[in-house]
Amino acid sequence: MTLSLRGVRVAHGGHEVLHGIDLTVARDELLVVLGPSGAGKSTLLRAVAGLTPVSDGRVSIADRDVTGLRPGRRNVAMVFQSYALFPHLSAAENIAFGLIVRDVPKAEAAERARRAATTVGCGHLLDRRPGQLSGGERQRVALARALVREPDVFLLDEPLSNLDAELRVEMRAELKALHARVGGAMLHVTHDQVEALVLGDRIAVLRDGRVEQIGTPDEIWSTPATTFVARFVGSPPMNLLPADGPLPGLGPAGTLIGIRPGAVGLGSEGGTAAHVERVEVVGEDAHVYLRLGEHTAIARVPSARRPAAGAETSVTVSAADVHVFDAATGKRA
């Protein structure tokens, strides 16, 4: 059940939102779509589902051109960013909806709905209406509704955004397990890079309606194709400095050097002098905001070894940790 998009363009009333997307999701692959708010992630999913007409290009599922096919014929399941739960149906009925309308026997549908609900941890809420659920609970119901079927393509639009960390980790594992069991192409939109890195077989980074880079999490992480990808993936984002800036000798002139905060060493001898402007403690880690002359940089250090705000320190970077980008195009050099 490969899913492939060829030159897909989508416009919202004259204003083009997707500018020719090429994308292939292999059978049984989980592709995470990552991108800033407003990049066109939801629009991409809706185009695949057939809910938004494409103005140009082709969508095919399992080698079948579905561009002109109505949504119901594409055999996809979707979690809407807005959940789109039916307010008049209980959680159980919402989840079983797709089965019931496909004439799955009532008892079987109820049983499968119950199982799906239990998987996403809302088995105890089956009798409630959406109006009586908390935000995260609604999202789980929406997720269960998509998971209960076995479609060719799963389209999940930020399905975990309203869940807490623990549940999210659990859900990720469940999603991965489910995908392994059921197969089918899975397109998972998220803005959470951890989720993207952990979950994705590959990641597509979207920016302003264009695919900026596609690759495995490792590729995306270790060889970001552009400064945009480099900064977008990773939190705090990668530091970008001119090669002839405060940390010279790490890249050819006219390029930008990128250093992830974790690769910024602090306090060792012989480094570049830096001023600590602010320190944020995030559990075991601390984010240290540094001033290097006229430039700023962030370092991530274990919070036990963090400098105090206002202190002077020194910065060392090993050349192996440096990414080099063309200053003009932002492309990886």
Partner: protein, 270 residues
């Protein structure tokens, strides 16, 4: 909250008294010279008006006919209105516009302008002197207003819900039944109650299309009672009260069971 109760009481105080007068009048004893003005509590009280209204006006038979007509026409109207209203949200824009314009035009056509041509139509179909012409308006939902009301209600449902249905490959008919209808329950209740009242009080149609006394509906029977002598006015009023009771019940039911507050939008979608 308390303010609302005061408001409600005020509404009751304004709208109910005229109808109480109707009831009071119906409880006067027929045959007495009519009083110069209305009396709040008639003296002597008598229910003879009711007995005589039922006899004289043939209210039982007429009530049965009215009921038959309403039982068929009201559900049919709601069905036609909601189906059409839903279809209008799904068909191409130009068609929707055409239906809206045609509906408004139909709304503008006065009933008197339709009587004669319709009579010819029904006669050609051999339907005069049956109850069919009285049920026929159900074909256009009793009033073209109601498909439009449904259309607006269906249009206000968040598009995501329709999208979810499209993904599940639900046919329009099933989307209508399973998702759209449950979400506009207050509208359905209102339209059902209103079509009931319109059908129930339809006077001109039975006047023109029905000859046989056995097919008379309540408004005709009531009209006949209205020609009674002034001394028998209570009889007419009793008939009016009896005729008003079913719509009253329908309104009360509609407002109890369906016009409750309805949480449609309690989820992320604006």
């Amino acid at each position: 909250m308390r303010l609302r109760t005061i408001g409600a009481v005020a509404v009751i105080a304004v709208f109910l008294p005229p109808l109480l007068m109707l009831v009071a009048g119906s409880l006067r004893e027929p045959g007495l010279p009519p009083p110069p003005g209305p009396q709040l509590v008639p003296d002597p009280l008598s229910t003879e008006g009711y007995t005589r209204a039922v006899d004289l006006g043939g209210l039982l038979r007429a009530g049965l006919n009215s009921t038959i007509v309403a039982v068929i026409a009201v559900p049919a109207s709601v069905l036609v209105a909601s189906l059409a209203g839903f279809a209008m949200t799904q068909v191409p824009r130009w068609l929707t516009n055409a239906v809206v314009v045609a509906s408004l035009a139909a709304l503008a056509a006065p009933a008197t302008a339709l009587l004669v041509p319709r009579f010819a139509l029904f006669r050609t179909l051999g339907l005069t002197d049956t109850l069919a012409p009285l049920i026929a308006p159900a074909l256009l939902a009793t009033s073209p207003l109601y498909p439009l009301v449904f259309y607006l209600a269906f249009r206000a449902i968040p598009a995501d819900l329709y999208d979810a249905c499209r993904l599940e490959d639900l046919s329009p008919l099933r989307t209508w039944w399973r998702v759209a209808m449950p979400l506009v329950r207050p509208v359905t209740a209102a339209v059902a109650a209103l079509t009931f009242v319109l059908t129930w009080s339809n006077f001109l149609d039975p006047l023109v299309y029905v000859y046989d006394r056995d097919l008379f509906t309540l408004p005709l029977a009531l009209r006949s009672l209205s020609t009674l002598d002034p001394t028998n006015f209570p009889v007419f009023l009793a008939g009016a009260v009896l005729t008003t009771i079913p719509p009253l019940v329908v309104f009360a039911l509609a407002q109890r069971h369906a016009l409750r507050h309805f949480h449609l939008h309690q989820y992320r979608e604006t």
